[in-house]
Assembly symmetry: C2
Homo-oligomer: 524 residues x 2
Amino acid sequence: MAMVSIDLDMKRVTNEEFLKKANDCMPVLKETLVHPSAIVKIQDNESSYPDVSIVDSAEHLSDYPMKKGDKLYLDFGGHQVGYVTLRLSSTGSPQDSPAYFRLKFGEIAREMEERSQDYDGWISQSWIQEEFIHIDVLPAELKLPRRYAFRYMEIEVIDTSLKWQMVVDEVACTSVSAVDTASVQPFQTQDELLQKIDRAGIRTLQNCMQRVFEDGPKRDRRLWIGDLRLQALANYATFRHYGLVKRCLYLFAAQTREDGRVSACLFTEPKLVADDTFFADYSLFFASILLDYYEETKDIDTLCDLAPCAYRQVELVRQMFDERNLIQGEGSTTNMWCFIDWTEGLDKQAAAQAVYIYCEKRAQKIAEILGDAATADDMSTDLSLKSEAAFRHLWDNEKQLFVSGTHRQVSYASQVWMVLAEVVDAEAGGKLLDRVTALNPEKGMVSPYMNHHFTEALLMCGRKEKALEYMKFYWGGMIRLGADTFWELYNPQNPSESPYGSSIVNSYCHAWSCTPAYLLRKYF
Amino acid sequence: MAMVSIDLDMKRVTNEEFLKKANDCMPVLKETLVHPSAIVKIQDNESSYPDVSIVDSAEHLSDYPMKKGDKLYLDFGGHQVGYVTLRLSSTGSPQDSPAYFRLKFGEIAREMEERSQDYDGWISQSWIQEEFIHIDVLPAELKLPRRYAFRYMEIEVIDTSLKWQMVVDEVACTSVSAVDTASVQPFQTQDELLQKIDRAGIRTLQNCMQRVFEDGPKRDRRLWIGDLRLQALANYATFRHYGLVKRCLYLFAAQTREDGRVSACLFTEPKLVADDTFFADYSLFFASILLDYYEETKDIDTLCDLAPCAYRQVELVRQMFDERNLIQGEGSTTNMWCFIDWTEGLDKQAAAQAVYIYCEKRAQKIAEILGDAATADDMSTDLSLKSEAAFRHLWDNEKQLFVSGTHRQVSYASQVWMVLAEVVDAEAGGKLLDRVTALNPEKGMVSPYMNHHFTEALLMCGRKEKALEYMKFYWGGMIRLGADTFWELYNPQNPSESPYGSSIVNSYCHAWSCTPAYLLRKYF
């Protein structure tokens, strides 16, 4: 299913003052020089995830002169985001032809086995981190101009000539991030799996923290508001880099659609451009991120500046409700009016109703803090109407579950968001989650993003043991498959699933998966 | 047949003084900015050479936004050697993925239809002028760091995304050469084909004249002594860039094998390295090039400096003769002891005997000019022995032709070189050439290099009409197939022949084919 939003007629308005404030918070990236730890072998083992074994120390790299067809796999010992340099030379007779080789970068070993020529997914093949390079004259230092997200690197010589071989004298990566881990205390536990989960969460967040909070440093490398909300929460529990959150809030407010609607994501290079993709939930989250930021920092100036933008999102999404106070997204031609999760065929009405309530509550609180009684009162009234409507129209008394849409679909998402929005109290919420878990409806959870919300809902309802068990099952599942950063997508039932038609373009260090670092610190 | 010489034990000696003199003559390259003249279509027509037709002016390039799979072919109006820059942008929704595209450069339209993935020849695939490029952020100016030799350029978009298309706003080539054609008068003739032959010869030479006389700017891009000899002659008749010839002579003398043997070719980047390939004829030509240079320039200092190197080549090759004064190359494991031509199975003994005589005569003349009577006398004596031996052992009285090797093979090459070496006089030579032409022996001529020697032999014997007819047949044949520079290889019987197992790596602007510009001016 191609999920693409295109609106070539979209008119954008820019607030230059906000843009300036955003750019004043531009972080200086910290650089770390990293060398590969080993030359490795990557071997298919008939599961979805190949075996990796050490062949030699990477210090012996230059002992492997490479001729046509020769390959080397390097392991950088952990997930890197950075700029790679190779020192190359030749051996044998004089270099009588250009060196021609292919470099491939993979976040996990599995990517190294996937062939880019077999890719036929619907998102761009250009995300595959592979380069074909000619070097006319050796020795040479090759500074690759692009940034890569990877742990593994493959060097395949396509051709030298019969007279000479290529020698890789050194490979190094200048890894970059807005933060370093020195300041972050590991989560205190004796449980090794939880230690690994925490470490991977922190590393995931760190490698997504660049000039903005990126969703994934491999792909799409840009600021999505749904990811930002979770990244900001994890950041408050770990790195506490407040400037980057502030920057991202100002960026979203700095360019909107002409009606003030905040885009689902934005681009910052070569200059700020708000995307022509809009999700109801994502726009609404602006209010929730802003309040979280204020509560963490007490930065009242930013709250003052950006509150109108937060209110405006509520106002705009309020227009999507019908006379029964039920949100309606079905009129849109795709299921893209609201994100919630990637689950195919998921009816999003109930969850969207709940997200609206969740965010309007936060917008209302902002209005209270700022002493804007009229706005606060208006929102209070509206909140009552929306909550009542949820109970009246979306509650199935027989099933004792929330249902969604005309087909009264049961899903995890609907229950989870009603809990998070506190439409039900903790006790009722706990039972709701127990029921949906027991029922295990067809419409499950696909993204770590949805799994995060499920876990946080459990924790809000005091289901600590169950939440911990689930984290060890879900995020621990990735760890057991070799992850040192968490993935964009992980389906325990189908570990090679991709929303893009091929897993080679999946992102394996993805912001919305970093939240164990937050959940463990907040609730344990 | 892979023709590769490898001698990893080769010891090289460097004469730093000669190297300095060579580098003092380093030319400053002239730059010319060239834009494509047209967007073209290249269509298979079931012959070896496709049709090219104009689609649109290249000024309208930006009217063709490119999505996944789209291709554009540009015609630069003539053969270029230079550095290409593209100005690129995007259209549609924001650029939500890197641009990924393939660029391919071809000297002739035929190359554009050959697929690099099908290449399985024995020389390096790295010569195929093709690049795969990712651009993360558009708009961008892409300055390709490598030099290309091409007339046609293909841009194929491998992927953008569903949201946006790539726009090529401008493509330009900074063409480079040590010379420009402004100073060269076209050969005066009413014959249009001859005008084109002359123009293509001059362009071929110009595009091979870079920091050294290259054999081909596409491949191998380096200084071969056999090519240098013909380039220097054509240069004297046209550009008269004496410094470049001087530079190349000093380069060959500046690094030799430890016994003083001049390599067949050398590399100048990143520093001077003489190759571990040696041909008897190529080493000997050092003497002939040196004398030609002196006769053209009267540069007695260079003659003094380099004469010992010229004598040494004669001395070293003299060791290859047996007690009958016949040269012996058969002891070598390959047919690579002497070049002469690419003709498969060609026995090179008679031609090599003649090349030795040709070059020793020139070395002897150098000795005379320098007043080195002992050397001159020694060579005179030797020349008589070698010429007598040629008549005694290589002349077939019945066939009235020179024969070569133990199988007494008849070939063009043997007759041609006996004529060029003036082993026979012009009258006898003329008859010899008439006989071999009438016989049309199985061992024909493959390279333009050999065809040049045949044509010059005809001219030396006063066969002007026949030579002109032959030039129009042979070099004119390339013109009729669309050439604007002359090719490394042209076989009128098999226009798609390649010595490398695939014509995609053939060079279509090749020094040794430029000689019509010399022959027309010298003999007409």
